[in-house]
């Protein structure tokens, strides 16, 4: 419980579950959810290094706050793009969005 590796392995598992979701889902909202999981894994890494290794314990918390801000911006943009795409195609399956494929 109180070792760096436990947290790092947990973060790696979260990140890889998110990666799996991004690779195999075809529902755009599902992919967005998986990306949120990946960001969560990365934030756990920052907080773990902050807790066990870093010289200044405030810096890792600030980076995690920034990651949360970026995640909020990404969710807002992603959801509005998904809504626009749904209005155009009546579907949020990524494989239907191929108007630009040659």
């Amino acid at each position: 419980m109180n070792s760096l590796s436990t947290y790092l392995i947990l973060a790696a598992m979260l990140f890889c579950l998110g990666l799996l979701g991004v690779l195999q889902r075809r529902n755009l909202i599902g992919m967005l959810i998986a990306i949120e999981l990946m960001l969560g894994g990365a934030s756990i890494n920052f907080m773990a290094f902050n807790r066990f290794l870093a010289p200044e314990p405030a810096v890792g918390q600030i980076i995690t706050l920034f990651v949360m801000g970026i995640a909020a911006a990404e969710a807002a943009i992603g959801l509005s793009i998904i809504l626009a795409l749904f209005r155009q195609m009546r579907s949020i399956n990524v494989e239907r969005a191929q108007r630009l494929s040659g």
């Binding site: 598992m13 890889c16 600030i62 911006a73 509005s80 626009a84």
Partner: protein, 175 residues
């Protein structure tokens, strides 16, 4: 001695419960086909991550995690689901090669990360501060990280305006 062991044992148990909630929620967020189950899994996983932040010693970040992720992002995702996909539409079948490829890629990546984590000899900084307070965070945000703070405010503003424009413009286009 026994009381100390008891508290330690309870803390250990709580830690593994939180880890279980996080990983179970992540599995629930990735594997089921129903998108609403995925959102419930995401909420579980992110609440578990907030618990992990508590164990890592930061109450403030844990509360922020609950507030921003569970309170804002998950609600926005639920709104988008309600606005976009009628639940009676058929879900596309999963093709086996794609699933195998995805699982293989994620597994290879995980094994690589695991190797790095286990093989590396992590060394703590020679002198480490002990100042975890919110006051220091606020101080640093307005002095050393001032530029990043302003830039992220700008990014959020642009993202919100962009989201409104994207969603609104597509409505005018399609109607």
């Amino acid at each position: 001695m026994s009381a100390w062991f008891g508290i330690e044992g309870v803390a250990h148990l709580a830690f593994w419960v939180v880890v279980g909630i996080t990983l179970g929620g992540a599995g629930l967020a990735v594997f089921p086909r129903n998108i609403l189950h995925n959102v419930v899994g995401l909420i579980l996983a992110l609440s578990g991550v907030a618990g992990i932040y508590l164990f890592l010693g930061s109450m403030f970040i844990a509360l922020m995690q609950l507030l921003i992720y569970v309170g804002a992002i998950c609600i926005a995702i639920i709104f988008a689901i309600m606005l976009s996909r009628p639940l009676h539409l058929e879900v596309p079948v999963r093709r086996l090669p794609k699933v195998v490829g995805g699982v293989g890629a994620a597994l290879v990546f995980f094994l690589g990360l695991l190797g790095v984590i286990v093989k590396t000899c992590w060394q703590a900084a020679p002198e480490r501060g002990t100042d975890w307070s919110i006051k220091t965070i606020g101080d640093l945000l307005l002095t050393r990280y001032d530029l990043a703070f302003e830039v992220i405010s700008l990014v959020l503003l642009v993202a919100i305006i962009g989201a409104i424009v994207t969603a609104g413009f597509s409505r005018r286009l399609s109607s």
